[in-house]
Symmetry: C2
Subunit: 218 residues, 2 copies
Protein backbone atom coordinates (compact mmCIF):
# COMPACT_ATOMS: atom_id res chain seq x y z
CA UNK A 1 0.00 0.00 0.00
CA UNK A 2 1.40 3.39 -1.02
CA UNK A 3 1.27 5.84 1.88
CA UNK A 4 -0.02 9.35 1.26
CA UNK A 5 1.59 12.31 3.00
CA UNK A 6 0.49 15.93 3.07
CA UNK A 7 2.71 18.92 2.32
CA UNK A 8 2.25 22.67 1.92
CA UNK A 9 0.69 23.76 -1.36
CA UNK A 10 2.83 26.87 -0.96
CA UNK A 11 5.69 26.40 1.43
CA UNK A 12 6.89 29.38 3.46
CA UNK A 13 10.44 28.34 2.56
CA UNK A 14 9.74 27.97 -1.19
CA UNK A 15 11.24 24.51 -1.44
CA UNK A 16 14.41 24.95 0.61
CA UNK A 17 13.58 21.68 2.30
CA UNK A 18 12.75 23.13 5.72
CA UNK A 19 9.07 22.17 5.90
CA UNK A 20 8.44 19.13 8.06
CA UNK A 21 7.25 16.93 5.20
CA UNK A 22 10.91 16.83 4.14
CA UNK A 23 11.79 14.59 7.11
CA UNK A 24 9.12 12.11 6.15
CA UNK A 25 10.06 12.18 2.46
CA UNK A 26 13.70 11.63 3.43
CA UNK A 27 12.85 8.66 5.65
CA UNK A 28 10.67 7.10 2.94
CA UNK A 29 13.48 7.55 0.40
CA UNK A 30 16.04 6.00 2.79
CA UNK A 31 13.96 2.83 3.09
CA UNK A 32 12.89 2.78 -0.56
CA UNK A 33 9.16 3.18 0.09
CA UNK A 34 7.27 4.97 -2.72
CA UNK A 35 4.69 7.51 -1.56
CA UNK A 36 2.10 9.93 -2.82
CA UNK A 37 1.77 13.55 -1.78
CA UNK A 38 -1.38 15.57 -1.33
CA UNK A 39 -0.85 19.31 -1.20
CA UNK A 40 -2.92 21.43 1.17
CA UNK A 41 -3.37 25.19 1.30
CA UNK A 42 -3.09 27.17 4.53
CA UNK A 43 -6.85 27.62 4.40
CA UNK A 44 -7.51 23.90 3.97
CA UNK A 45 -5.23 23.11 6.92
CA UNK A 46 -7.75 24.77 9.26
CA UNK A 47 -10.80 23.00 7.77
CA UNK A 48 -12.52 20.22 9.74
CA UNK A 49 -11.52 17.63 7.12
CA UNK A 50 -7.82 18.34 7.70
CA UNK A 51 -8.22 18.75 11.45
CA UNK A 52 -9.57 15.19 11.51
CA UNK A 53 -6.16 14.09 10.22
CA UNK A 54 -4.11 16.62 12.19
CA UNK A 55 -5.70 18.20 15.29
CA UNK A 56 -3.15 21.04 15.26
CA UNK A 57 -3.87 21.92 11.62
CA UNK A 58 -0.38 21.36 10.32
CA UNK A 59 1.54 19.20 7.87
CA UNK A 60 2.74 16.51 7.41
CA UNK A 61 0.14 13.82 7.92
CA UNK A 62 0.65 10.20 6.90
CA UNK A 63 -2.11 7.89 5.71
CA UNK A 64 -1.59 4.22 5.07
CA UNK A 65 -4.81 2.27 4.64
CA UNK A 66 -6.90 3.03 7.71
CA UNK A 67 -3.96 4.33 9.74
CA UNK A 68 -3.56 8.10 10.04
CA UNK A 69 -0.58 9.65 11.78
CA UNK A 70 0.73 13.17 12.36
CA UNK A 71 3.91 14.61 13.98
CA UNK A 72 6.96 14.17 11.80
CA UNK A 73 8.82 12.42 14.64
CA UNK A 74 6.13 9.78 15.09
CA UNK A 75 5.81 9.26 11.34
CA UNK A 76 9.56 8.81 10.86
CA UNK A 77 9.64 6.38 13.80
CA UNK A 78 6.73 4.43 12.30
CA UNK A 79 8.56 4.16 8.98
CA UNK A 80 11.82 3.23 10.72
CA UNK A 81 10.14 0.47 12.72
CA UNK A 82 8.56 -1.12 9.65
CA UNK A 83 11.48 -1.02 7.23
CA UNK A 84 15.17 -1.81 7.43
CA UNK A 85 17.69 1.00 7.19
CA UNK A 86 16.82 3.61 9.80
CA UNK A 87 17.24 1.78 13.12
CA UNK A 88 19.93 -0.67 14.25
CA UNK A 89 18.98 -4.31 14.86
CA UNK A 90 20.56 -4.40 18.33
CA UNK A 91 17.89 -3.47 20.90
CA UNK A 92 20.12 -1.15 22.94
CA UNK A 93 21.49 0.64 19.88
CA UNK A 94 17.93 0.99 18.62
CA UNK A 95 16.81 2.62 21.90
CA UNK A 96 19.75 5.03 21.69
CA UNK A 97 18.88 5.99 18.10
CA UNK A 98 15.37 6.84 19.30
CA UNK A 99 16.92 8.98 22.06
CA UNK A 100 18.48 11.14 19.34
CA UNK A 101 15.13 11.54 17.60
CA UNK A 102 13.63 12.94 20.79
CA UNK A 103 16.75 15.02 21.51
CA UNK A 104 16.49 16.57 18.05
CA UNK A 105 12.83 17.48 18.50
CA UNK A 106 12.61 18.34 22.19
CA UNK A 107 16.06 19.67 23.09
CA UNK A 108 17.75 21.03 19.95
CA UNK A 109 14.83 22.19 17.81
CA UNK A 110 12.94 24.42 20.29
CA UNK A 111 15.61 27.14 20.63
CA UNK A 112 16.15 27.03 16.86
CA UNK A 113 12.44 27.43 16.21
CA UNK A 114 12.23 30.25 18.77
CA UNK A 115 14.96 32.14 16.98
CA UNK A 116 13.11 31.66 13.69
CA UNK A 117 9.75 32.59 15.18
CA UNK A 118 11.12 35.84 16.58
CA UNK A 119 12.45 36.71 13.14
CA UNK A 120 9.04 35.97 11.66
CA UNK A 121 6.69 37.61 14.13
CA UNK A 122 8.75 40.05 16.26
CA UNK A 123 11.05 41.62 13.70
CA UNK A 124 9.16 44.93 13.87
CA UNK A 125 9.03 45.01 17.66
CA UNK A 126 11.08 47.46 19.68
CA UNK A 127 12.71 44.64 21.63
CA UNK A 128 13.70 42.49 18.67
CA UNK A 129 17.37 43.50 18.55
CA UNK A 130 17.78 43.49 22.31
CA UNK A 131 16.45 39.92 22.58
CA UNK A 132 18.68 38.50 19.86
CA UNK A 133 21.60 37.65 22.20
CA UNK A 134 19.23 35.67 24.46
CA UNK A 135 17.92 33.67 21.51
CA UNK A 136 21.34 33.11 20.00
CA UNK A 137 22.86 32.05 23.32
CA UNK A 138 20.28 29.33 23.73
CA UNK A 139 20.97 28.01 20.24
CA UNK A 140 24.74 28.13 20.82
CA UNK A 141 24.35 26.31 24.11
CA UNK A 142 22.70 23.33 22.42
CA UNK A 143 25.02 23.36 19.42
CA UNK A 144 28.09 23.44 21.63
CA UNK A 145 26.89 20.44 23.60
CA UNK A 146 25.92 18.57 20.45
CA UNK A 147 29.25 19.37 18.82
CA UNK A 148 31.11 18.04 21.86
CA UNK A 149 29.19 14.78 21.75
CA UNK A 150 29.56 14.29 17.99
CA UNK A 151 33.32 14.93 18.15
CA UNK A 152 34.91 13.53 15.02
CA UNK A 153 32.25 10.85 14.49
CA UNK A 154 30.38 10.58 11.23
CA UNK A 155 27.05 10.02 12.96
CA UNK A 156 25.75 10.49 16.51
CA UNK A 157 25.90 6.86 17.61
CA UNK A 158 27.45 4.28 15.31
CA UNK A 159 25.78 3.92 11.93
CA UNK A 160 23.44 6.48 10.33
CA UNK A 161 19.96 6.24 11.89
CA UNK A 162 16.59 7.96 12.14
CA UNK A 163 18.16 9.90 15.02
CA UNK A 164 20.68 11.44 12.64
CA UNK A 165 18.01 12.10 10.03
CA UNK A 166 15.94 13.99 12.57
CA UNK A 167 18.90 15.89 14.05
CA UNK A 168 20.22 16.95 10.65
CA UNK A 169 16.77 18.08 9.55
CA UNK A 170 16.63 20.28 12.65
CA UNK A 171 20.15 21.68 12.12
CA UNK A 172 19.38 22.44 8.48
CA UNK A 173 17.03 25.17 9.71
CA UNK A 174 20.15 27.10 10.69
CA UNK A 175 21.93 26.71 7.38
CA UNK A 176 21.19 30.15 5.97
CA UNK A 177 22.12 31.83 9.28
CA UNK A 178 25.81 30.94 9.14
CA UNK A 179 25.62 29.83 12.79
CA UNK A 180 26.35 26.24 11.87
CA UNK A 181 29.66 27.21 10.30
CA UNK A 182 30.96 28.08 13.76
CA UNK A 183 30.86 24.37 14.54
CA UNK A 184 33.00 22.68 11.92
CA UNK A 185 32.00 19.15 12.86
CA UNK A 186 28.29 19.99 12.85
CA UNK A 187 28.54 21.69 9.46
CA UNK A 188 30.32 18.60 8.10
CA UNK A 189 27.71 16.35 9.72
CA UNK A 190 24.87 18.21 8.02
CA UNK A 191 26.76 18.13 4.72
CA UNK A 192 27.07 14.33 5.07
CA UNK A 193 23.30 14.16 5.39
CA UNK A 194 22.71 16.37 2.38
CA UNK A 195 25.07 14.20 0.34
CA UNK A 196 22.97 11.08 0.88
CA UNK A 197 21.17 10.01 -2.31
CA UNK A 198 17.92 9.59 -0.36
CA UNK A 199 18.17 13.15 0.96
CA UNK A 200 18.74 14.46 -2.55
CA UNK A 201 15.76 12.58 -3.96
CA UNK A 202 13.55 13.87 -1.16
CA UNK A 203 14.84 17.41 -1.57
CA UNK A 204 14.25 17.37 -5.32
CA UNK A 205 10.74 15.98 -4.85
CA UNK A 206 9.71 18.76 -2.45
CA UNK A 207 11.37 21.41 -4.60
CA UNK A 208 9.51 20.12 -7.66
CA UNK A 209 6.22 21.05 -5.97
CA UNK A 210 7.21 24.71 -6.03
CA UNK A 211 8.74 24.49 -9.47
CA UNK A 212 5.35 23.12 -10.49
CA UNK A 213 6.68 19.95 -12.07
CA UNK A 214 5.48 17.08 -9.88
CA UNK A 215 4.37 16.30 -6.36
CA UNK A 216 4.90 12.60 -5.96
CA UNK A 217 7.77 10.59 -4.58
CA UNK A 218 6.98 7.63 -6.79
Amino acid sequence: MIPIITAFERSPDRGRGLARDMRVRWALEEVGQPYDVRLVSFEEMKHPAHLMLHPFGQIPTYQEGDLTLFESGAIVLHIAERHAGLLPDDANARARAIVWMFAALNTVEPPIVERGMAMLVERDKAWYEARQPLLEDRVHGRLGELSSRLGDGDWLDGAFSAGDLMMMSVLLRLKSSGILDEYRNLAAYVARGEARPAYKRAFDAQLAVYAGTTSTGR
Copy 2:
Protein backbone atom coordinates in the same frame (compact mmCIF):
# COMPACT_ATOMS: atom_id res chain seq x y z
CA MET B 1 17.66 -5.52 36.79
CA ILE B 2 16.59 -2.37 38.65
CA PRO B 3 17.01 0.70 36.45
CA ILE B 4 18.63 3.81 37.89
CA ILE B 5 17.34 7.25 36.98
CA THR B 6 18.78 10.64 37.80
CA ALA B 7 16.86 13.55 39.29
CA PHE B 8 17.68 17.02 40.61
CA GLU B 9 19.29 17.11 44.02
CA ARG B 10 17.49 20.42 44.42
CA SER B 11 14.63 20.84 42.03
CA PRO B 12 13.75 24.34 40.83
CA ASP B 13 10.10 23.44 41.51
CA ARG B 14 10.71 22.08 45.03
CA GLY B 15 8.87 18.85 44.39
CA ARG B 16 5.79 20.09 42.59
CA GLY B 17 6.32 17.27 40.13
CA LEU B 18 7.32 19.43 37.16
CA ALA B 19 10.90 18.19 36.72
CA ARG B 20 11.22 15.74 33.86
CA ASP B 21 12.17 12.80 36.06
CA MET B 22 8.50 12.80 37.12
CA ARG B 23 7.45 11.46 33.69
CA VAL B 24 9.85 8.57 33.98
CA ARG B 25 8.87 7.82 37.59
CA TRP B 26 5.21 7.87 36.55
CA ALA B 27 5.80 5.49 33.64
CA LEU B 28 7.77 3.11 35.87
CA GLU B 29 5.00 3.18 38.47
CA GLU B 30 2.33 2.52 35.82
CA VAL B 31 4.10 -0.66 34.70
CA GLY B 32 5.12 -1.72 38.21
CA GLN B 33 8.86 -1.55 37.64
CA PRO B 34 10.89 -0.69 40.75
CA TYR B 35 13.72 1.80 40.23
CA ASP B 36 16.52 3.54 42.01
CA VAL B 37 17.22 7.26 41.92
CA ARG B 38 20.57 9.02 41.93
CA LEU B 39 20.40 12.70 42.76
CA VAL B 40 22.70 15.13 40.97
CA SER B 41 23.51 18.74 41.77
CA PHE B 42 23.47 21.48 39.12
CA GLU B 43 27.25 21.50 39.31
CA GLU B 44 27.54 17.74 38.80
CA MET B 45 25.24 17.94 35.78
CA LYS B 46 27.93 19.87 33.90
CA HIS B 47 30.75 17.51 34.87
CA PRO B 48 32.22 15.16 32.26
CA ALA B 49 30.94 12.11 34.14
CA HIS B 50 27.34 13.29 33.82
CA LEU B 51 27.83 14.59 30.27
CA MET B 52 28.83 11.05 29.31
CA LEU B 53 25.32 9.99 30.32
CA HIS B 54 23.56 13.12 29.07
CA PRO B 55 25.31 15.25 26.45
CA PHE B 56 23.05 18.24 27.21
CA GLY B 57 23.81 18.13 30.93
CA GLN B 58 20.27 17.57 32.13
CA ILE B 59 18.12 15.08 33.97
CA PRO B 60 16.64 12.49 33.76
CA THR B 61 18.98 9.78 32.58
CA TYR B 62 18.12 6.09 32.66
CA GLN B 63 20.61 3.30 33.21
CA GLU B 64 19.74 -0.36 32.93
CA GLY B 65 22.73 -2.65 32.80
CA ASP B 66 24.93 -1.36 30.00
CA LEU B 67 22.17 0.68 28.40
CA THR B 68 22.13 4.43 29.06
CA LEU B 69 19.34 6.64 27.78
CA PHE B 70 18.39 10.30 28.12
CA GLU B 71 15.39 12.41 26.96
CA SER B 72 12.27 11.73 29.00
CA GLY B 73 10.28 10.94 25.83
CA ALA B 74 12.71 8.25 24.71
CA ILE B 75 12.93 6.78 28.21
CA VAL B 76 9.15 6.58 28.61
CA LEU B 77 8.86 4.99 25.16
CA HIS B 78 11.56 2.47 26.09
CA ILE B 79 9.67 1.55 29.26
CA ALA B 80 6.34 1.41 27.37
CA GLU B 81 7.77 -0.94 24.75
CA ARG B 82 9.16 -3.36 27.30
CA HIS B 83 6.24 -3.60 29.70
CA ALA B 84 2.48 -3.95 29.35
CA GLY B 85 0.24 -1.05 30.32
CA LEU B 86 1.41 2.02 28.44
CA LEU B 87 0.86 1.13 24.77
CA PRO B 88 -2.05 -0.70 23.10
CA ASP B 89 -1.44 -4.14 21.58
CA ASP B 90 -2.99 -3.21 18.24
CA ALA B 91 -0.23 -1.94 15.93
CA ASN B 92 -2.18 1.02 14.56
CA ALA B 93 -3.40 2.12 17.98
CA ARG B 94 0.16 1.81 19.24
CA ALA B 95 1.47 4.08 16.46
CA ARG B 96 -1.21 6.63 17.30
CA ALA B 97 -0.31 6.58 21.01
CA ILE B 98 3.28 7.35 20.01
CA VAL B 99 1.99 10.26 17.90
CA TRP B 100 0.62 11.81 21.08
CA MET B 101 3.97 11.44 22.82
CA PHE B 102 5.64 13.43 20.06
CA ALA B 103 2.73 15.91 19.91
CA ALA B 104 3.11 16.53 23.64
CA LEU B 105 6.84 17.16 23.39
CA ASN B 106 7.21 18.88 20.04
CA THR B 107 3.89 20.73 19.53
CA VAL B 108 2.31 21.43 22.93
CA GLU B 109 5.30 21.73 25.25
CA PRO B 110 7.43 24.30 23.36
CA PRO B 111 5.04 27.28 23.75
CA ILE B 112 4.45 26.28 27.38
CA VAL B 113 8.19 26.16 28.05
CA GLU B 114 8.70 29.49 26.27
CA ARG B 115 6.15 31.12 28.52
CA GLY B 116 7.91 29.67 31.55
CA MET B 117 11.37 30.62 30.28
CA ALA B 118 10.32 34.24 29.76
CA MET B 119 9.05 34.33 33.32
CA LEU B 120 12.36 32.92 34.51
CA VAL B 121 14.90 34.91 32.50
CA GLU B 122 13.10 37.96 31.08
CA ARG B 123 10.94 39.09 33.96
CA ASP B 124 13.15 42.12 34.59
CA LYS B 125 13.31 43.14 30.92
CA ALA B 126 11.52 46.20 29.61
CA TRP B 127 9.66 44.11 27.04
CA TYR B 128 8.42 41.41 29.40
CA GLU B 129 4.86 42.71 29.82
CA ALA B 130 4.49 43.66 26.16
CA ARG B 131 5.48 40.17 25.00
CA GLN B 132 3.09 38.34 27.32
CA PRO B 133 0.11 38.36 24.89
CA LEU B 134 2.32 36.80 22.19
CA LEU B 135 3.39 34.01 24.54
CA GLU B 136 -0.10 33.43 25.92
CA ASP B 137 -1.67 33.37 22.45
CA ARG B 138 0.65 30.60 21.36
CA VAL B 139 -0.21 28.53 24.42
CA HIS B 140 -3.94 29.14 23.94
CA GLY B 141 -3.69 28.18 20.28
CA ARG B 142 -2.38 24.75 21.16
CA LEU B 143 -4.70 24.24 24.12
CA GLY B 144 -7.74 25.17 22.03
CA GLU B 145 -6.79 22.65 19.36
CA LEU B 146 -6.06 19.96 21.93
CA SER B 147 -9.31 20.65 23.75
CA SER B 148 -11.27 20.31 20.49
CA ARG B 149 -9.67 16.96 19.77
CA LEU B 150 -10.12 15.59 23.29
CA GLY B 151 -13.80 16.60 23.34
CA ASP B 152 -15.53 14.63 26.05
CA GLY B 153 -13.16 11.68 25.85
CA ASP B 154 -11.39 10.41 28.93
CA TRP B 155 -8.10 9.99 27.08
CA LEU B 156 -6.72 11.18 23.75
CA ASP B 157 -7.21 7.97 21.77
CA GLY B 158 -9.04 5.06 23.39
CA ALA B 159 -7.43 3.73 26.55
CA PHE B 160 -4.88 5.58 28.72
CA SER B 161 -1.43 5.39 27.10
CA ALA B 162 2.10 6.78 27.24
CA GLY B 163 0.76 9.51 24.95
CA ASP B 164 -1.63 10.65 27.67
CA LEU B 165 1.06 10.37 30.33
CA MET B 166 3.34 12.64 28.32
CA MET B 167 0.59 15.11 27.37
CA MET B 168 -0.65 15.42 30.95
CA SER B 169 2.88 15.90 32.27
CA VAL B 170 3.27 18.78 29.81
CA LEU B 171 -0.10 20.35 30.70
CA LEU B 172 0.71 20.10 34.42
CA ARG B 173 3.33 22.81 33.84
CA LEU B 174 0.42 25.23 33.43
CA LYS B 175 -1.41 24.19 36.57
CA SER B 176 -0.38 27.10 38.78
CA SER B 177 -1.11 29.63 36.01
CA GLY B 178 -4.87 29.08 35.96
CA ILE B 179 -4.75 28.90 32.15
CA LEU B 180 -5.83 25.28 32.15
CA ASP B 181 -9.05 26.14 33.96
CA GLU B 182 -10.21 27.97 30.84
CA TYR B 183 -10.49 24.56 29.17
CA ARG B 184 -12.81 22.50 31.31
CA ASN B 185 -12.15 19.23 29.51
CA LEU B 186 -8.37 19.70 29.68
CA ALA B 187 -8.50 20.51 33.39
CA ALA B 188 -10.60 17.37 33.95
CA TYR B 189 -8.19 15.35 31.79
CA VAL B 190 -5.20 16.44 33.88
CA ALA B 191 -7.15 15.72 37.07
CA ARG B 192 -7.81 12.17 35.79
CA GLY B 193 -4.07 11.75 35.38
CA GLU B 194 -3.31 13.07 38.86
CA ALA B 195 -5.89 10.69 40.31
CA ARG B 196 -4.10 7.61 38.99
CA PRO B 197 -2.44 5.63 41.79
CA ALA B 198 0.78 5.38 39.76
CA TYR B 199 0.88 9.18 39.38
CA LYS B 200 0.41 9.60 43.10
CA ARG B 201 3.17 7.15 43.97
CA ALA B 202 5.53 8.88 41.55
CA PHE B 203 4.58 12.31 42.84
CA ASP B 204 5.12 11.28 46.45
CA ALA B 205 8.49 9.73 45.59
CA GLN B 206 9.80 12.91 43.94
CA LEU B 207 8.40 15.08 46.72
CA ALA B 208 10.07 12.90 49.34
CA VAL B 209 13.46 13.89 47.88
CA TYR B 210 12.84 17.50 48.86
CA ALA B 211 11.28 16.58 52.15
CA GLY B 212 14.53 14.68 52.75
CA THR B 213 12.89 11.37 53.54
CA THR B 214 13.80 9.00 50.70
CA SER B 215 14.85 9.05 47.09
CA THR B 216 13.96 5.64 45.77
CA GLY B 217 10.92 4.32 43.95
CA ARG B 218 11.40 0.84 45.32
